[in-house]
Subunit: 340 residues, 2 copies
Amino acid sequence: MKPTDLQDYSHKRFNILTGEWVLVSPHRAKRPWQGQNETVNNEKRPTYDETCYLCAGNKRINGELNPNYKDVFVFTNDFAALQSDSPTFSLEEGLFVAKSEKGICKVICFSPDHSKSLADMSPGEIQKVVFEWQKQYQELGSNPMINYVQIFENKGAVMGCSNPHPHGQIWSQSTLPNEVDKKNTQQLNYFIKNNSSLLGDYLKQEQEKQERIIYENDSFVVLIPFWAVWPFETMIVPKKHQPHILSMDEDEAFLYAEAISVITKAYDKLFNTSFPYSSGIHQAPTNADINKHWHWHMSFYPPLLRSATVKKFMVGYEMFGSPQRDITAESAVKMLKNLL
Amino acid sequence: MKPTDLQDYSHKRFNILTGEWVLVSPHRAKRPWQGQNETVNNEKRPTYDETCYLCAGNKRINGELNPNYKDVFVFTNDFAALQSDSPTFSLEEGLFVAKSEKGICKVICFSPDHSKSLADMSPGEIQKVVFEWQKQYQELGSNPMINYVQIFENKGAVMGCSNPHPHGQIWSQSTLPNEVDKKNTQQLNYFIKNNSSLLGDYLKQEQEKQERIIYENDSFVVLIPFWAVWPFETMIVPKKHQPHILSMDEDEAFLYAEAISVITKAYDKLFNTSFPYSSGIHQAPTNADINKHWHWHMSFYPPLLRSATVKKFMVGYEMFGSPQRDITAESAVKMLKNLL
Ligand SMILES: O=P(O)(O)O[C@H]1O[C@H](CO)[C@@H](O)[C@H](O)[C@H]1O
Ligand SMILES: O=P(O)(O)O[C@H]1O[C@H](CO)[C@@H](O)[C@H](O)[C@H]1O
């Protein structure tokens, strides 16, 4: 293998966390774009919007009033995809297989300031969001009905976000979702075989190589994983082998907030726009007796490819075959690193 | 379990072909939509567009002239994601794992008429597309470098389609993509255990139940699978246990074309728009010695949810957890069946 092969020719890379592959076609970045352009709204928003159902003091759709919150505010989703009071049932009629799924869905406002996003907040302000994530993981996880807590954010209209007020969501449920289940299996198999953390060992390799690391501080590394799918996908990984976000102390929570701040700011600079993405934290199930194999991490999946208006479409081949990317992880790292 | 449970409460359903789950939240269809609206172009297109690189007689980006084709025309993709002349290499450096991937990518024009889509073509015209798919599967498959042939179509700007001229793609490659690999495993395991086709047995159950079937003719059934992810996802399944599209004779090819015609016409009527989707055929690998466990099928994944401008976003929870849908397969069937 020549050192340039991965930068020049189509190949597939293995995702050690899911056990799946991504097709990489570096030469394809050269094709001209004739497809759909997204509309971008770079308009500055007011700090308070009286029509926003997430702003402090405003009324939500169900008639409830938001409190005059000062930093972070959490409430149960008014249109939750998962309910806690639904009946328990299960269907196994030949090849029709279904099971009831219970859960609790929450919305978390990151700031009362309607005009901001995480990229505009200070690490100190983001740290309060991290504290709230920890509290929610703890509280929801202690509910016997809940086994997994999925923390995520959809940012930007192009990511299905219906309100620009800075907020994320927390969907917690009885069973493990598909993606978590895959990562659970891969990490467990590795841990049984090597008695060490899969992601920890991977991180060591990345630290030696210094080819895909964008930023690091005392406790966290921000990198583009070797197997990244989205053009500017990144991952924040704790240096310590921690199964979930509750393992972080206050200082680490600040360093984590700093990492979030650094990458979201770089994103906004990349195409000079409020950068859309979905982000999420993958961590240990909450009622796992054995969760030692888990190494929690946060990923950002941003859709933009070439500019504020041209995104990567995950369609035909990607839906029926495998995810496919044009620019390599290594060249995306260079672009983002230049913006720190 | 009460008969209404699946229509009223959140639950998960098992996809027998991939081994994965989809979260269904029927009650959530009631939430108001405040998010992004797609722009729709319902403008009638001319039958010939001199700026279109797929119209007959026109020049493509690489300078080549399209022939004056009369029905179907196939050429090698000018910006192929897979190449046939790239070097062979493989990397296994600890947890960095990559392999070269070779292949051939083609574009298939369904008609010289720029204004049409499959929904506007007669079953006889679509049958010619089917014949070409068969020919390509045969030809590409006989290349020792190729083990799998992915036939697909991205239709509509919202599905990343850069040119409205009716066309699809064929990406063929050395190894099995993720989704095909999952379906290979599930079908093989079932076949070993039961000595019959997984999808064939499933089809029998659907035919007895008559709850999710939209249309059938002598050789094909169009249905919404029990585990459908996209709001109006459908599947065309041959009644005979056939591993790949070459197993079809001419008459069957016509009946298949008829099934494609029926569902694409219903789609266009649903929201009174040229209905966007990605469609794809999953079938046996081309160099499989044993492919008896495969039962080929075609799926349509359309993004629209409520109208021509409101789509379902597969974002945060879907990317990090599991796919999630609001309306149930059963209610989507009723809507589509009404339009036949
Ligand atoms: O090949 P096209 O039509 O230019 O590109 C389209 O389909 C491909 C295959 O699904 C995707 O990888 C691209 O993101 C999409 O824009
Ligand atoms: O809950 P929201 O923000 O209304 O909805 C958004 O996020 C959900 C979770 O990823 C998705 O299921 C929806 O398709 C998307 O529009």
